[in-house]
Amino acid sequence: MATLNDYRDREHWSYSSLNQFLNICSLQWALQRFYKIAPAFTPATLSFGSTFHRVMEAISSIRKEEKSPVKKDAMALFNDLWHRQVKEDGNIKFDEDTTVEDMAKQGQELTACAMDAIDPEEQVVSINEPFAVPIIDANGNSLDKPLIGEIDLVVEKDGRKVIDWKTSARRWPKFQAKHSMQPTVFLYAYKQLHGIDCGFRFDVVVKNKTPVFEQHETTRTTDQFNRMVELIKLAEKMVQHEHFCPNETSFYCDSCPYGEACSSWHRERSKLISVAA
């Protein structure tokens, strides 16, 4: 079975790459993926999110076998995987006044919250399904690079739904799912892979003192797929010309692992221009 890592072997676009380029900061994208600068640290939220995904994957595997996952076991699994993840990632940056153990406790509470929300009538169709599909515009022209990714979960109940697991620091605004690029990317891929139009749902666990579980459903149209491809074409042109722009007011700046490289970017850039002039 081909894995996401197999697909990463070729040049590609992915949702995380597109979102980083188009919505977070194109300079951050460039420093990480184009100039290949090593990140100064791993944000703790990233390691935490990876662990949560692995736990949800294990829970879903049990559900797929039509068995009932045990909450206590799942919480213990989070604790175990989190400590392993911390060791594995090494250079993790934690928020002030937050420790490894605080996050271990929080992760277990989020796991329990997510398990309480499981609908036993939902059939698990697939878990962590990797994909690679061509990117084709409205006129039938395909791009060189494929779109790759991995779909967290696909379930069946009153129709098929693609699910993505999220942990969030705060409750989602009403239109976040509607405007997110992720359902567009994943439903576009799913349609090409299986020839099926289906719905998309974010299963979000909010890190409140008492965790809250939210579901946000959305759909996408062919016109939205076509718009996505035009955005990718635009991004490709910007990459080709190395037009990378720091998003100076991004919410991500404070925790950006490329902050140092970013702060000296304009000085390096002016040097390059004066050499070429």
Partner: protein, 143 residues
């Protein structure tokens, strides 16, 4: 201050398209010290030209060692029939399929059925080439 500009370009035919070619070009611009002797300048020109020429050739042969590449993949070290089909090869395959009204899911099914590949992006160069031939000869048709 002297300025050295070394360029190398090469045109190659586009696979499967008559009267068509793609041009690959690389150039490097650098500054040299005024104090260099003519022989030293010639050596720099030779070395720099060698770098850009090799860069173009390695890119063409799919053996890029570049670290400055968008979404740069891990290197393909294999060659010959075991090497995965390139993005250009898959693009050609999907373009051909589309004009014949064959969907990506059908192509993936064929790739699985005939070559045991999980998707068209999992095909080897050799198998992708065979699938292209099947499409061209009409042996593979829309379901």
């Amino acid at each position: 201050m002297l300025k050295l500009n070394s360029s190398y370009s090469k045109k190659v035919p586009v696979e499967g398209r008559d009267f068509s070619s793609q041009s690959y070009h690389a150039s490097v611009e650098m500054e040299l010290s005024d104090a260099l002797e003519p022989r030293q300048i010639q050596e720099r020109i030779h070395d720099t030209f060698k770098i850009v020429k090799e860069a173009v050739e390695t890119e063409l042969n799919g053996k890029s060692q570049s670290t400055h590449k968008a979404e740069s993949p891990r290197e393909h070290t294999g060659n010959g029939s075991g090497e995965k089909a390139s993005n250009k090869q898959i693009k050609y395959l999907t373009d051909l399929a589309r004009v014949r009204d064959i969907s990506v899911s059908e192509l993936n099914s064929q790739a699985k059925k005939i070559y045991g590949a999980d998707s068209i992006y999992d095909l080897t160069k050799k198998d992708a080439s065979k699938l292209v031939d099947s499409l061209k000869t009409g042996n593979l048709k829309a379901a």
